[in-house]
């Protein structure tokens, strides 16, 4: 199977490559529209700043290609945010695959009554996913823990297929036709994350 990981200036592609290797997949890396179009599955990872990353995707000339794919496509973390309509980070227009707006978590004031629950930004660590829908979460239990590191989130909406509650509920995952996206890091989420990646590979 040809699993292609979209290569651009975002950091930490290596973790995704290793996670795929652990599933027995040898992924290809590409930033060329014609190579990405030939893949059976496309993975769009990302850690970095949204505005400059959108500029980089435009510079590489792949934004249109990413919007027109027909094969299963999985955005991870910043990848999810870039698949939304617009992000507050760098005030950037994004790929508009999902209609969501990406917003920054409000710095939380010291919580009343329960100081140990002071909610910090970035949202860092393991949190639970609920309201799981769609093939990505086949066999995944409600309230499974996944690993997050992010300061921006996609609002909930029609395409939301998993929720996490941090400060308020946000889209842990989005789904529309062949397009899937997760805000957490499946490549770093232990056996739960591996099962979600495997579900995607087996679509």
């Amino acid at each position: 199977m040809n699993v292609t990981v979209v290569k651009y200036n975002a950091g930490n592609i290596q973790s995704v490559l290793f996670a795929l290797e652990r599933l027995g997949i040898t992924p290809l890396l590409s930033s060329k529209p014609e190579e990405i179009a030939k893949a059976d599955k496309v993975i769009f990872p990302g850690v970095g700043e949204a505005g400059s990353t959108m500029h980089e995707l435009e510079r590489l000339g792949i934004t249109a290609a990413l919007q027109q794919l027909k094969q299963p496509f999985l955005g991870i973390c910043l990848g999810l945010q870039l698949m939304c309509r617009h992000t507050e980070e760098g005030n950037a227009d994004c790929l508009n695959i999902f209609g969501q707006e990406v917003k920054k978590f409000e710095q939380f004031p010291a919580a009343t009554g329960a100081e140990t629950q002071k909610l910090k930004v970035p949202h860092t660590g393991w949190n639970t996913i609920t309201n799981l829908q769609g093939p990505l979460f086949k066999g995944i239990a409600e309230n499974s823990y996944v690993y997050y590191v992010h300061s921006y989130y996609a609002e909930t909406g029609a395409n939301t297929c998993a929720l996490t509650d941090y400060i308020h509920p946000f889209s842990a995952a989005l789904m529309k036709d062949n397009y899937f996206a997760v805000q957490f890091h499946p490549e770093k989420s232990g056996s739960v994350g591996a099962a979600i990646l495997k579900n995607f590979i087996e679509l």
């Binding site: 652990r22 660590g125 823990y145 509650d165």
Partner: protein, 253 residues
């Protein structure tokens, strides 16, 4: 609910895990990849690897080790030790580390934190600080170079400065508590954690399961780091997590 994190820390010397006692003597305890995998299977939420003999020559050995860890372990891990510049960070992240921790170099030049955060994102920049209370009512003073050199900075001021500069997390080690197994520095951790908006990892002093409960509740830590209690199986992570759950503390199972 966001869970509290349990983080085993492994000190690496020439590709092996060693354990120091009170920033002093050193004893070998195992293989970094095997132990990392064991801890991940046991339910550790994250791992920290510190290269305690970071010199230019040894750096290559550590980098290939980081690659092997990333290849084999499916939970996040932080690496640190001897990081002095952007290029060190770039190599470690490219090798597959999720976060890096900087200590002495950041104290010498806080703008390094800002540069690193701009280039790689705050989420992967952990500022580690070793602090010591000189007398019972005194301030906590920041030490560098593995706890050997005293600086003019105090813990609280430096933690705030590191946050302002772009740190994504603070790894706070009390030198007074490290190696004692008498519990974490609860008041220090609480004061720093409540005054910051970024997560604080408490380190130094873990001896029994209640110490972890205390540092999460009284200390308000977001994560707790320990080494020898895990390495010598004095506390096993599944048992620790069952205990914390029984104390109504959110942990990942």
């Amino acid at each position: 609910m966001l869970s509290k994190r349990i983080i085993p820390c492994m000190d690496i010397q020439e590709g092996r895990i060693v354990k120091g006692i009170n920033f002093g003597g050193i004893k070998e305890v195992g293989n970094p990849v095997e132990m990392g995998r064991y801890y991940a299977e046991q339910g550790a939420d994250e791992l920290v690897y510190l290269d305690i003999t970071a010199t230019k020559e040894k750096r290559k050995v550590f980098l290939s080790l980081v690659r092997e860890i990333a290849r084999n372990i499916n939970i996040p891990f932080t690496v640190g030790g001897g990081i002095t510049g952007i290029e060190d960070v770039n190599l470690l992240l490219e090798a597959g580390a999720d976060k890096i921790s900087i200590n002495s170099a950041a104290v010498k030049n806080a703008s390094l934190i800002t540069e690193m955060a701009k280039r790689f994102g705050s989420q992967c920049i952990v500022v580690a600080m070793d602090v010591k209370m000189e007398n019972p009512d005194g301030d906590w003073t920041v030490y560098v170079n593995g706890g050997r050199i005293k600086t003019a900075k105090n813990a609280h001021g430096w933690a705030l400065q590191a946050q302002e500069a772009g740190a994504g997390e603070i790894l706070l080690t009390s030198m007074n508590h490290d190696g004692t197994k008498n519990g974490f520095a609860l008041h220090l951790t609480r004061e720093i954690s409540l005054s910051l908006n970024i997560p604080v990892i408490a380190s130094g002093g873990a001896g029994k399961m209640q110490d972890f409960a205390d540092v999460f509740t009284i200390g308000c830590a977001n994560a707790a780091l320990a080494a020898s209690v895990f390495h010598y199986k004095e506390i096993e992570i599944p048992e620790l997590k069952r205990y914390l759950l029984s104390q109504k503390i959110a942990v990942r199972q």
